[in-house]
Structures are given as C-alpha cells and as structure tokens.
C-alpha cells in the first residue's frame, strides 16, 4: 500500500498564493464560456465556495474573470465548485420571482471514484491510491471515453483528476449542455452496468435472461478483457485469497462447476488468480451449460473492470462539481486534466501539489525576473504548465466550433 508523500492540508497562506499567482482563471472562463467575451454561459453560472471551517457559500456568479479572481482571492476558499447556467444571474436569485430562476444548461458530468472499487482492489484501501489501483480508473476512462464518443457522438470531453482517488468527466458539446434531467438519467442508465447493492454478489445484470450482451457492452468487452488479464488476474491477483475466490464462485451459475472448483482451490492455496481463471475456463469448455457459463464469464469481466459510476452526480443539471485546478484540501494535489490516451501512464502520486508548485515558482523567481511582473505567466515556470495547456487546447476546440457555427449561421442569410 502506498504511503502518500507530503499529504497534508495546505495552509491558507499557501492557498492564497496559489490563487493569486497560479490558478488559471482565464482558461477556466474560456472553457466554461466557449467564447472570449463573457456570455450567459459564464455570467449566469453558479459557483459555490467552501471556505475555511467548512462554510459553504452558494449562488455566486461573476460578470468577468477579474471579478471572479478578485472574489476568490478575497474569500480564499479551500475549494470551489461549478454548477449550472441558470435563467438569471445566480447572485440575483433572491430578487427573482419564484419560477423565474431555474437551471438551463450544464455540462454533462460523470464521477468515478475508487471507493466503488474497494471490494475488489487488493493493493490499497480507504483513502489510499497508488499507480497500481489507478489501473481501475484507467480502464474506466478508456471505456467511457470511446463509448461516449462513438455512441453519443460527443467530442468535447474533459477528464479531470479529482485530487485524491477519482476522476471527473465534463462534456461540453452543445447537445450535452442542453440535456434535461430526464435525458441525463437515461444516459447514466445506458452506461451504468455495475449495479446492485453491497449485499448482492452479482452486480452486472445487463442482459435479458441468457440473451447476448447489448452491442454497446459487447464493444466494451474487448479492451476490458485485456485489463482483466493484466489487472485482475496478474497485478491485483483478486482471486488469490479465499474471500476473493469465494466471491468469484458466487458468480458462477452452475453448481457442479462451483463444487469442482471449490474442492480444487481449497486444497491448493497456492493457485494464482490466473491459474484459477484457467481452471474455470476449462470447466466451461467441457460443460453442458456452456452458453450460460460463457455469458457468466463475460459478466464477471464486466463486474471487475467496467466503469463504476457515482450515478447521482450525473443525473441533475444543478449538481455541483469541483472545478478543475482546485486543490484537494486533504492531499494538496491539483485537480489536473488527464489525457485519456495517456491515462494508463498517469500516476496520481506524480501530480503536483500546491506546496511543490509554489516552491518551484520561488526557485525560478530567485534565478531571474524582477519582482512585480505579470502574474499569469507564473504558471509557465512550474510543472503546472502542461496541464494548463491541455485545458487551453480543449477550450480552443470548443471556441473554434462556436465560431464555425456562428459563421455558418451568417452564411444562410
């Protein structure tokens, strides 16, 4: 299990310096606003602040980036969250007639958290996370990213590390922004496969009877089978312990197969997960119940590797989600964007902390540059730079699309 390095809550002074010198307010605005000049996407957007001492301030909104930065530096929150675009400015909420204030637009968001994998990962527990168990998140990102692009046709997906042991996805396509709560609920049900409470063994029930998996899951199965081999059988060795292989047996629908495997595995405690999976495969080949058992094998792969969503986050337009580049209040790590193509190589323990960034900054400042230079370029001097560039590229693509749509609209006149 990984012992996290320098994991301590950042001091208010550190936070304030971070907001003043490093936080990319402008990039965040571009990303939320899809244009350079603030529109309702920005001015009617709710920001919620969590202050020192867990005071929670909702319904803040800002006309400009400067206003926003000023307020953040005044309040010095431990973190802040982004909500929907409302029909009026959130800060005017109290003066608006009832019914005149409602959420209109909102990125479609998803939240995947390591907590939901606690029953299967063997390397860490509770708040802990390491490169090894990150592979669960990596598998989830791969599957979600490609299926949302392919099935729903969305292109503007931003993955953001949550600062401790999870990842958020923000989708900013126009259609995604406009989804109603009902449609959000539908997309969550479409994607969510691993359901069922703590007390049920079988958590995947995606097929009707013994019929084949729906096409969307069939597609996901192939990459997940690789993760299953590497991650579940080899790295995590999930079926090594008795508890682990008993859990596996619960998912096998044929009692005679279960009995045979049980006898074999309880008499040979040294069999690895990979060997046990081979044992199971052999039994399936020779069984008269082959189709049902093959279906069960597919379901097992899904149960151990398919994305596990915190569904409630996605279902409502007015759900708040922590802003990218905030500092995790426990670990001090920055919530940086993650490139889904590089997600396998992402190491949560390598993500810069706020303390580290300010140290980097001080070191480079000592080397050259007189005092009082423009602060926004400060981030260029730190290891935060590539992450901000990632967000900027993402925002640029959104802005290009808005420009293109506007131009097309002009041509029709």
């Amino acid at each position: 299990m990984a012992i996290a390095k320098d994991q301590e809550a950042p001091s208010p002074e550190l936070m304030l310096a971070f907001y003043r010198r490093l936080y990319p307010f402008k990039s965040i605005m571009n990303w939320l606003n899809h244009e350079h000049v603030p529109t309702k996407l920005y001015t009617h957007r709710e920001f919620a602040f969590t202050l020192q001492g867990d005071v929670y301030l909702r319904y803040n909104s800002f006309n400009t980036v400067e206003d926003f930065k000023k307020q953040v530096c005044t309040l010095n929150p431990t973190r802040f969250e982004i909500g929907p675009v409302y029909s009026a400015r959130p800060r005017d909420k109290k003066t608006i007639r009832p019914g005149g204030f409602m959420p209109l637009l909102r990125e479609l968001v998803f939240d995947i958290d390591m907590t939901d994998y606690d029953s299967i990962r063997t390397c860490c527990s509770d708040a802990g996370i390491c490169k090894r168990c990150w592979a669960f998140i990596a598998a989830a990102v791969k599957v979600m990213d490609s299926s949302i692009r392919d099935q729903f046709g969305y292109q503007h997906l931003l993955w953001v590390y949550s600062g401790r042991r999870g990842i958020h996805l923000w989708i900013s396509d126009k259609e995604a922004m406009e989804l109603t709560d009902e449609q959000r609920k539908a997309i969550v049900s479409w994607i969510a496969v691993v359901t069922g409470g703590k007390d049920s063994h079988k958590k995947v029930n995606a097929r009707l009877g013994s019929r084949p998996l729906p096409p969307s899951l069939k597609t996901a199965l192939e990459p997940l089978a690789h993760y299953f081999g590497d991650l579940i059988l080899t790295d995590q060795d999930c079926f090594a312990s008795e508890e682990g292989w008993q859990a596996l047996l619960h998912l096998i629908p044929d009692q005679s197969v279960v009995q045979k495997l049980q006898d074999k595995w309880s008499s040979d405690s040294g069999r690895s997960s990979a060997q046990k999976w081979q044992d199971f495969k052999r039994e399936v080949k020779g069984s008269s119940q082959r189709p049902a058992l093959q279906a069960a094998m597919e379901d097992i792969i899904l149960q151990y590797t398919y994305p596990r969503l915190d569904a409630e986050v996605s279902k409502h337009r007015n759900h708040l989600l922590k802003a990218p580049f905030c500092v995790h209040p426990k670990t001090g790590r920055i919530c940086v964007p993650v490139d889904p193509d590089q997600v396998d190589d992402f190491d949560p323990e390598e993500v810069p902390t706020v303390g580290q960034l300010l140290k980097e900054l001080d070191e480079t400042m000592a080397q050259d540059s007189p005092e009082g230079e423009e602060h926004h370029s400060d981030s260029d001097r730190t290891s935060l730079k590539p992450y901000i560039e990632m967000l900027d590229r993402h925002a640029m693509a959104l802005m290009d699309e808005v420009r293109r749509i506007k131009r097309d609209a002009d041509m029709t006149w």
Binding site: G99, M102, D150, Q151, F152, G153, Y154, E175, L179, T180, E182, Q183, K185, A186, I187, S189, W190, A206, R207, L208, R211, P212, L213, P214, P215, S216, K218
Partner: protein, 503 residues
C-alpha cells in the same frame, strides 16, 4: 376561440355554423380519433361548452393522477381510465357508426385547450398536466385500432428518418443484438417489417435508459416495435413547449374576465388533487330518503368521512359549532336527506346550552336560509372536497375543513383510530395513509380509509368509492357507504328468504 381578434366572442353565441373556417373542413374536421393538438380550435365556443368540456377532461386527468398516487400497475390504470373515458369523455373509433364522432372529438379538442390555459400557469401544474395528458394519450393509443393508428401516423410528420438498406446492412449485427422486451418467438409472429427509424437519442430517453435501441454518433436506431416511444415522447415535448408558450401569452387573455374564474376554479381543483365535483343529482337511492334527526348520530358513526365525523364529534362534545363548521356540516346533512324540520330539531337538540329564544333569533334563520327558504332562496349545494380543501382554512377553534389537510399528523392519526377502529382501521394501516397525506394527496388518503373501513363489505384496495373512483365529495362518500350497507342487508335478507324456502 383562441384565435387573435376572436377572443371577444359573445357569451351566448353558440358555434356559428356559417363561420368560414369551420366550413373549410366542415365535413370531417377530425378525421382521426387520436389528436396531437397541434392546432387550437378556431371556431366559437360557448362559455358552457368551454366549461363542460374542461370539466369532463379534468375528471379523467384527476383520476389518472390518483392512479399514479396509488401506484396502480399500468394495465389497471388503463382499465380504470378507459372506463372513466367511456363514461365522461367518450372518444370512439371511426368504425363506431352509431357514435357522434365529430362532436366527441370536438369536446376532446376543446377540453384539452381549455385545460392548457388553466394549467400553464405554474411549473408544478404544467408538469402534472403533461404527465396526465401523456398517459391519457397513451391509453387511447393502446386502445386504438391498428389501421386507424397508422393513418394517424401518416397524417403528420414525426421527424424520423427511415433507416436505408445500406445502413441496415452495415449495422446488421448490432441492430439484431438490441434487446427487446418482446420475446424472439413472439417477435417473429408479429407483423414486424424489420424497419428501423433514426432519431436523435435525446428524443427517446426512455428507450436509451433501457438499452432498447442501437446508438451511433448520437443517433438512436429505433426498431419498429418501439416506434410508439417516439410518438409518446414527441407528444410530451410538444405539449411542454406549447404550455411554455401559452404561459407567456396568457397575460393577454386576462382581458376576457369571464374566463378567469373558470380557469382558476379548474386549476385549483387539480391542485387540490380532486377531480371535478361529484354531482349529487347523479347520486344513489340511499340519499334523500328522509333521515330523522335521531338517526344522524348512528349514521355518522357508520357512514361519514373524517371531515364530517370531526364536525359531528365537535358538535356533540362542545354543544356548539362555529359558523363555517355549521355551514359545512349543515349543507352536508341537507344533501344526506335531512329535511328542514328534522334539521331544526337536530340543531336545536345539539345546541342545548342556549335558550329557545337565542336559538330562534340567531340560528333558525340561517338553517332555513341554507335550505333556500329565506333570503335569496338559493339552493346551496353541499361543499365538495375541492371547496373544503381550498376555501377558508380553519382557525384555532374551528372544526371545519379537511382533517387530512388541516390536522397535525399526531392529531390526524389519533382521530382516525378513534373514529374508524370499530370499522376495521388498524394502527398498521396508518403509515400508508400518512405517507399519502404527506405527499399532499388528501383525497387519496380519504379514499384509502374508505376502502379499509368498507373491506368487510367487500371493497378491495384500489376500488375506491366504486369503479376505482376517488372520493371527491363528502356526500359521495356517505352515499356510497350507505349503498354498500343496503346491498349487504338485501343480500342477507335474500339469503334468509332462500333459507326459509329451502327449509
């Protein structure tokens, strides 16, 4: 009636047959039984038709809402709704040669648009209206003749694209693998042409939720067997948009002050969760049958709903009732069948702490007045649940109102047990009742109490006061209760007679 410039129609004018716009399609303005209500009525409508068409529809929608609250399975909801429609808002197929199809469809058309006006005015009302209307449309769709349904589908664009052969071939495997609620074997026997319709996925969230479509690039490939989902969603989306537009346009309608009270009344009734008024004229034989003053106490214990039980108990306990309580209870007793003479006797005996002189001076006139024998000589009807729920709220020392709404939770529960345990109401029944009360469905709670306290008379859960109908009027509650008792007595007598003959 909703056309610009035509709003100032005269109250008395009936449909102008010579109206050019009606003549345009005067042969069959309504070729289909199903209606998407894309076009508002453009003919003149009398105020009476305006109101009666709306009331008939309101009754159906309110019953649909009750069905949701009571968690009726869809099939049961369908049966109940269909039964209610046949009674109050018939809408026959083209094949029904005897029915006056055009006039039925006109009532359906007018009623829908009147209720749009009444229900566009708050978010809550809009949401509930859309849900109920959608369900009504669905029930009608399900009961529609296949041929007529297809003709309706062809009559308007639903914005779907038929999936071409090339694309179908390309995604053959995926399309085949889409799960269906219908079994493969049944599928083959069905007349499924294997056609698919392409729409944006956002138009069929219900199918996406259940993974009943193939999705590619945001397009949902909907199998023909699920086509109705697109239609229902389209109906819902259309209606939501239309209500928003109507809400914005409504202030202009306020000029026509005659409509406003009607619209207010309609939306209030729906908010109170009560269907339109139970009409005492259509009521049973059990009432009006000369109830004697001394019988009232016994009737109260056996047949009165909680509101009247409460008034009766208060009167017995305090030997007095405040004005609003006297009014609510007095009119109820009148409709129950207590004659004016018996009423005076009853009230005199009840108010036994005051002198004859005071009674004659202060109360006799009011009692006679409520019987239409003094003053304006109006025949005042008894108050309906809707009125009791929405009119003057009871103050601290008053006993009128609806206990389900106006009592605290504790008081309501003890009152229910005290009043109805003799008729079989148990503590274990309370959680369900209180749950309904908390959700604001007072009449459903009352209906449930009726079912429980009449289960010995054979009333089952969901049956309500007959045919699945909910309580909408205290007199309806009492009348139905007395009817059930009468039926039981008759049966007992018949059985006894039969035994005598056999013996």
């Amino acid at each position: 009636m909703f056309k610009k410039g035509e709003r100032k129609h005269s109250t008395t004018s009936s449909l102008k047959q010579e109206h050019p716009e009606v003549q345009l399609h005067s042969t069959t303005p309504y070729p289909h039984r199903l209606n998407f209500y894309d076009v508002p009525p453009v003919f003149d409508v009398t105020l009476e038709e305006f109101e009666s068409a709306a009331l008939a529809r309101l009754r159906i929608l309110a019953e649909i809402e009750s069905s949701f609250v009571r968690n009726r399975p869809h099939d049961e909801l369908k049966t109940v709704t269909d039964g209610q429609c046949k009674k109050y808002l018939p809408l026959n197929a083209n094949t029904a040669s005897l029915a006056d199809l055009q006039s039925e469809r006109r009532t359906d058309h007018v009623g829908h648009f009147v209720l749009r006006l009444a229900f566009c005015r708050s978010e809550e009302l809009r949401r509930r209206f859309v849900k109920a209307e959608m369900t009504l449309f669905r029930v009608r769709w399900d009961t529609d003749d296949t041929g007529e349904r297809n003709a309706f589908l062809k009559s308007r664009s639903f914005g779907w694209e038929e999936v071409g052969a090339k694309e179908k071939e390309m995604y053959k495997e995926e399309l085949m693998a889409v799960p269906s609620s219908i079994k493969q074997s049944e599928l083959r026997s069905q007349s499924d042409s294997g056609q698919y319709y392409k729409v944006r996925w956002t138009r069929v969230p219900d199918l996406v939720e259940k993974r009943r479509v193939f999705l590619k690039g945001g397009w949902a490939y909907v199998p023909e067997r699920e086509q109705s989902s697109i239609v229902f969603q389209e109906f819902q989306t259309n209606l939501e948009k239309a209500l928003d537009m109507t809400a914005k346009a409504l202030p202009r309608l306020d000029e026509d002050s005659r409509l406003i009270p009607i619209l207010n009344n309609l939306s209030q009734g729906f908010l109170a969760g009560v269907p339109s008024e139970w009409l005492s004229s259509s009521s049973s034989s059990a009432e009006g049958s000369g109830v004697k003053a001394e019988e009232i106490d016994d009737l109260a214990k056996k047949h009165f709903p909680m509101c009247m039980r409460n008034l009766h108990e208060s009167l017995t306990r305090d030997r007095h009732l405040k004005h609003m309580g006297r009014l609510q209870y007095g009119l109820f007793l009148k409709v129950l069948g207590v004659s004016i003479d018996e009423a005076i006797t009853f009230w005199r005996r009840s108010f036994n702490k005051i002198t004859d002189d005071k009674f004659n001076k202060e109360y006799r006139y009011n009692i006679r007045h409520s019987y239409g024998l003094e003053g304006r000589r109006a025949n005042y009807p008894a108050k309906s649940c809707q009125q009791i729920l929405t009119q003057e709220q009871p103050g601290p020392n008053e006993s009128h109102g609806c206990p389900y709404r106006h009592f605290s939770e504790d008081n309501l529960q003890s009152a229910l047990l005290a009043s109805y345990s003799a008729q079989g109401l148990k503590t274990t029944d309370l959680p369900e009742i209180m749950h309904t009360v908390r959700a604001g469905h007072y009449h459903v709670a009352c209906t449930r109490v009726f079912e429980i306290t009449h289960s010995r008379g054979g009333v089952k859960k969901g049956e309500g006061v007959g045919g699945g109908e909910s309580v909408t009027h205290p007199n309806q509650y009492a009348a139905r209760s007395r009817e059930l008792e009468k039926a039981k007595q008759e049966k007992a007598e018949n059985d006894r007679d039969a035994m005598l003959v056999d013996g």
